[in-house]
């Protein structure tokens, strides 16, 4: 009990220090710009809609093609990682570690690497999507395959089935609903990822949003943002229908259609057919880039320079600070709104409104929130923290609202029969019952926020990300390696801390 109190105190202290060290500085005409941006949100440009839909098609097809590569590799690799196709634990662990490495690095960082190594072309963008998504899908597919009911499948072995037949008749039918359900959720994420690849020059919704923002054409910008929102809503509805078993054949048909049209679009329309990702010239570039990352052909090797190391260490602390402010704001916004986002405790209108806000804030990637916010606030930790907070607030709140909506009602009914009013039901019944799940979701989101701090840093939100981007522009590749080393240590540390915290509250 005492250790819990100490941990809570330490966390509170860290959050307070982080807030104190994070000044909120507006741009000279920040308030006016904020007003203008918010006002434009109510008046999106209708004439921009055809172009926005065209951009949406590009975004969806990039996401579709990238996902299809990830699906292919993650599926086959997870059959090995879960021990179905191999008994060797060494092979299983190697693939699991490969998955972990692939997903530890954000798609945008992969994109920067691939673009630097191979140049900007459709295939590099697809690769940047496919690598981290193979890691994410692979991990979950492996978990699904590893936790299956084996009795019936073993019976097939007794009937003389080969490994391939066992997969087709045993493993797949049992695992497919879960695999598809998770993949649909990841497809929604892939749409967001495909959007933010605009940062390395991929066309589509993100690129257009960025262009409109830079031209201060906020009304047009919102047209693109709303189309992105709509895309996410459609995929969410699709996922829900599938989970309710109402749209299973349709899901298969649409997926196949999406697969073929995505590849047709990428290969023919975007000209990827003529891409030569692996040419001698590209391999030379890639080798050159890699050797510079490792400090060869470099005068001042950053990761051997104490000054640089201490500088990056300070930036790492700034990044941590950004993550604390972000998660604190997310949890605060969530705590204020979550009850109004649950059917039993809210008015239907308020419920609908708040759930729409959740959906909107999470549909828009943190990078785009950060791009918008730098028009209002001076670049720095606050912008990154706020952008991360807005995006994660939507996700965290949705998860928490669902915990309340699905909790066991009987103890609440008993309290009501003992005479408790609604407010008392909340503090005696709902809060104690859901607090554990809330804490565990918050820890989980903090971990994800920490991974993403580097991304919002790229657009001027400070911390490791900003330094990362500057060094990319200056071709200081050994500095990039140094940042990556600190970043990976940070991510690993967050992993350990969240495991520990979950154990304490578990």
């Amino acid at each position: 009990m005492n250790s819990k109190k100490t941990i809570v105190l330490i966390i509170l202290l860290l959050i307070i220090i982080s807030f104190v060290l994070t000044p909120i500085e507006m741009n000279a005409n920040g308030i006016e710009t904020a007003g203008e941006i918010i006002g434009s949100g109510f008046k999106p440009s209708i004439s921009e809609l055809p172009l926005a839909l065209e951009a949406a098609v590009t975004t969806v097809f990039y996401a579709g093609a990238g996902m299809s590569i990830a699906l292919f590799f993650s599926f086959f690799l997870s059959l090995f990682a879960s021990g179905i196709l191999t008994k060797s634990t060494r092979v299983q662990n190697t693939i699991r570690n490969l998955f972990a490495g692939m997903r530890a690095i954000h798609e945008l960082i992969w994109a920067l690497f691939f673009v630097t190594a191979f140049g900007l072309m459709p295939m590099t963008a697809l690769l940047a999507l496919a690598v981290p998504y193979t890691g994410m899908l692979g991990k979950v597919y492996t978990d699904i395959f590893s936790h299956m009911e084996l009795k019936k499948i073993k019976r097939l072995e007794g009937l003389g089935a080969t490994k391939a037949q066992m997969i087709v008749y045993g493993y797949l039918p049992q695992a497919l609903p879960q695999l598809i359900s998770y993949s649909l959720y990841r497809f929604e994420c892939a749409i967001r990822s495909s959007t933010i690849l605009s940062f390395v020059g991929v066309t589509g919704l993100g690129m257009k949003t960025q262009l409109m923002l830079n031209d201060l054409r906020f009304n047009e910008m919102f047209t693109y943002i709303y189309v992105l929102f709509l895309l996410v809503v459609i995929i969410e509805i699709w996922g829900n229908l599938y989970r309710q078993k109402k749209f299973q054949k349709g899901t298969v048909c649409i997926s196949i259609l999406l697969l073929f049209s995505s590849w047709y679009f990428i290969l023919i329309h975007e000209g990827a057919f003529y891409d030569t990702l692996i040419s001698q010239k590209n391999l030379m570039y890639a080798f050159d880039f890699l050797s510079k990352l490792l400090g060869f052909q470099t005068d001042n090797i950053a990761f051997l320079d104490l000054n640089e190391i201490s500088h990056v260490f300070l930036l790492t602390l700034k990044t941590l600070q950004m993550s604390f402010v972000a998660i604190a704001l997310s949890v605060l916004f969530m705590a204020i709104t979550v009850i109004l986002a649950t059917k039993p405790y809210s008015h239907p209108l308020v419920y609908g409104l708040i759930r729409s806000v959740y959906l909107f804030t999470r549909a828009i990637p943190e990078l785009i929130w950060a791009m918008i916010l730098v028009f209002i606030f001076k670049p720095g930790i606050w912008v990154g923290a706020l952008a991360l907070a807005i995006h994660n607030f939507g996700i965290l709140s949705k998860l928490c609202a669902e915990v309340i909506e699905t909790m066991d009602e009987k103890p609440l009914l008993a309290l009501r029969q003992a005479g408790a009013k609604k407010g008392q039901l909340l503090i005696y019944g709902v809060v104690p019952s859901v607090i554990k799940s809330f804490i565990s979701y918050s820890i989980y989101r903090w971990e994800i926020i920490l991974r993403t701090t580097i991304i919002v840093g790229l657009v001027g939100a400070g911390g490791l990300g900003y330094y990362f981007r500057l060094n990319f522009s200056w071709f200081h590749y050994s500095n990039i390696t140094l940042v990556l080393i600190f970043y990976i240590v940070l991510v690993k540390l967050a992993d350990k801390i969240s495991l520990y915290l979950n154990k304490v509250w578990g």
Partner: protein, 238 residues
């Protein structure tokens, strides 16, 4: 005290209860028995105002139950069931003090979670169910039998004049079940107790009056020592 007249309850056009008439006096100890699906739980739900879709009248202290709001009704009727329905993540003392919520303001309820209010009364309720030593424990760490006793302590804290117990011992093992019934009876001496039971022997052994319900009707309503083997055989179609 409780008067039920011409009570009929239908669900999906099927009669769950048919023309029930009962008169229950203050401090009576009544067991309700009958086969599964006879309508016992529906009757209890109507008496605790959880079920409001019925024909006929239910009068509590000569007032229609439908006119009570839930806070006023909590002063008169308390319930206990096999699921105990405690809040697992609260400490035992707070679960017991929840019996006071009907009289507390919102602010006092919050304050009590920090500094327990009326702690002495709660401890007394706990000691009458032999659970005083556990007051500071988390409820999720208790066994099923212990939770049952905490639920009884909460009921004592609530202090209603009528206690409705719907199969409170169904999830307990036999030795605990007997203890639990004895505890409920001893702690509700000054109250009316109506208990739905699956165990006929307990009903006959511990209760003054036994009501047999079958196919939604009162099959018999007798003092325990007048219930015959034939009555029970016909009730359960043995």
């Amino acid at each position: 005290m409780i008067n039920v007249s011409q009570l009929t309850c239908k669900k999906n056009k099927i009669d769950i209860l048919k023309d029930i008439n009962l008169s229950i006096h203050s401090k009576e100890k009544i067991a309700i028995i009958g086969p599964s699906g006879a309508g016992k739980t529906t009757l209890m739900n109507i008496l605790s105002k959880q079920e409001n879709d019925y024909y006929g009248f239910v009068l509590i202290h000569e007032t229609d139950i439908k006119t009570y709001n839930h806070r006023d009704l909590a002063h008169i009727i308390g319930t206990i069931s096999q699921d105990m329905n405690l809040i697992d993540n609260l400490k035992v003392i707070h679960n017991v003090l929840a019996g006071n919520l009907k009289d507390w303001s919102f602010i006092k309820s919050i304050y009590s979670l920090i500094v327990p209010q009326e702690k002495e009364a709660a401890l007394q309720a706990l000691s009458s169910v032999h659970m005083k030593a556990h007051y500071n424990k988390k409820t999720s760490n208790l066994s099923g039998g212990e939770k049952q006793r905490v639920a009884i302590a909460r009921l004592l804290m609530q202090n209603p004049s009528i206690v409705l117990a719907d199969e409170p011992i169904a999830s307990l093992d036999p030795s605990l079940a007997r203890n639990s019934i004895e505890l409920l009876l001893s702690t509700t001496q000054d109250k009316t107790l109506i208990m739905v039971l699956h165990h006929v022997e307990y009903a006959l052994e511990y209760f003054d009056r036994v009501i047999g319900i079958k196919e939604g009707k009162v099959f018999f309503d007798k003092t325990a020592n007048l219930v015959t083997k034939e009555d029970l055989g016909a009730l359960y179609e043995l």
